[in-house]
Symmetry: C2
Subunit: 318 residues, 2 copies
Amino acid sequence: MRTFVTGAAGFIGSTLVDRLLEDGHEVVGYDNLSTGHGRFLDQARRLAGFRFVSGDTLDLAGLTSAMGGVETVFHLAANADVRFGTERPRQDLEQNTIATWNVLEAMRANGVGRIAFASTGSIYGESSVFPTPEDCPFPVQTSLYGASKVAAEGLISAYVTGFGIQALIFRFVSILGERYTHGHVFDFYSQLRATPADIEILGNGRQRKSYLYVQDCIDAILLAVERTSAPIGIYNLGTDEYCAVDDSLGWICGELGLDPVRRYSGGERGWIGDSPFIFLDCARIQALGWRPTLSIRESVVRTLRYLQANPWLLERRA
Amino acid sequence: MRTFVTGAAGFIGSTLVDRLLEDGHEVVGYDNLSTGHGRFLDQARRLAGFRFVSGDTLDLAGLTSAMGGVETVFHLAANADVRFGTERPRQDLEQNTIATWNVLEAMRANGVGRIAFASTGSIYGESSVFPTPEDCPFPVQTSLYGASKVAAEGLISAYVTGFGIQALIFRFVSILGERYTHGHVFDFYSQLRATPADIEILGNGRQRKSYLYVQDCIDAILLAVERTSAPIGIYNLGTDEYCAVDDSLGWICGELGLDPVRRYSGGERGWIGDSPFIFLDCARIQALGWRPTLSIRESVVRTLRYLQANPWLLERRA
């Protein structure tokens, strides 16, 4: 199929690009390289089926022009960091909500029939049901990030009814693995690299979160795209387990052979709008035959090893 | 209290303005007069507690400047017509979602601590639970209007967590009564005024909807604002009954002494994204002691009489 990937130079986007190309699909990769890395597309650029377009999802004309002849859009471009909503409250609105509207309008202008969208388990806010299923009680948003993603889901669903497209919506837990560029493993490793003897932890360290390995995430997306015939398919993507922030830090320290003094910022939440417990019910995607191949611990360790092998990612931030 | 009402010249907005002034509050009314009517504010303009600002909710600077010194914002400005989403898909995004973000930012700039927001039962999409409670299963959006309002709710909730404001969110059924300017009673009466012998009905006439009288709606809003101490209060506002489109048409024809030939456009839905059944569980607002004073039938008849007494409203449209 002829595919279009927004956020193509990002962590998950570039991994998806490589998998689509491997499977023989044509891929137009679209990215403004604001948080993505051109290097993540080195492998893709060597293949004839790939074309890169440098562009912003806020540029509707550019997006529309780049999307010509496409059959399926994988919309992964986003402000992907949940933590800074209150510092930059327009960023989530623009990069997640308005950008998604632009993607839908570009699809409509080009007659593109299908979208696969990277949403988030953060839209469940502080759920009262664990593991949280897709049809849990109507949640209240607690972060600008979650609000901007639930808005994007709403727009996509309305376009399904209004314009007859098909939509796959994936509500991710945090994703780990090769090309990982932000999140707690990144932060902990960055700190320990600079000051191996002590570490600062946001919150009380007892926040419980679920994580998923990036290749398992891509497997699930491609399977759902292949198998879903309904106009709209909404799937949680996660593992059947969770861990505490302290557990994950323990695995990282164990791998690095360190025993730092742990200093906690305190409180049940790491930042304003942080959810103290994220654990998704993934029975719906599992019913298609999908299972994750790596545990959370294995994913954390693999992510750490990737960061150790790619110090340029950390140096770029420093 | 010092209040700010967006959409102050609209049907519900102007009715709220009059009630706030009656209760002794100061009111700044903000409206761009695109769908509102200056005449609806004639009564308010005679009172010292009222000030009108002509402005657009898409103008953040104007909104911020107008909101100085305010304690509570009643945000009613919106594209309020659910039917034309697919014809003008940017309208709901701008006037409902982005405008709400602007209202929240203007509040933040001015240190305004409370917002009361006019949301809609349309955000429940095609619910599977009737009557539909506020915490029903996480719905899928079916209209651009519903999507834009669920996005606005998400933003408001995230601002509650992020910036410590208080929010009251009201999910309305269709509102009827004096100053009503659009909707099925308006459409049916307009048609029958022009051609008393026949009438066109969108859908099969069996769509079931709930309605609420505008003064009952305002009673509920003011009561909830007074009684809610939680950071966020979400309330369905409707009656404990519903009627079919055909029932309502029957009451209107009975009042007018007409028996027109009914021509149906057909289908379970009146337009793309129409919900065939809207019936809300209002136990939460009722627990505060509120009850509607008029039945749906009484509200329909009162609305019809208002339109008969105010032909300028129909002539303006024609």
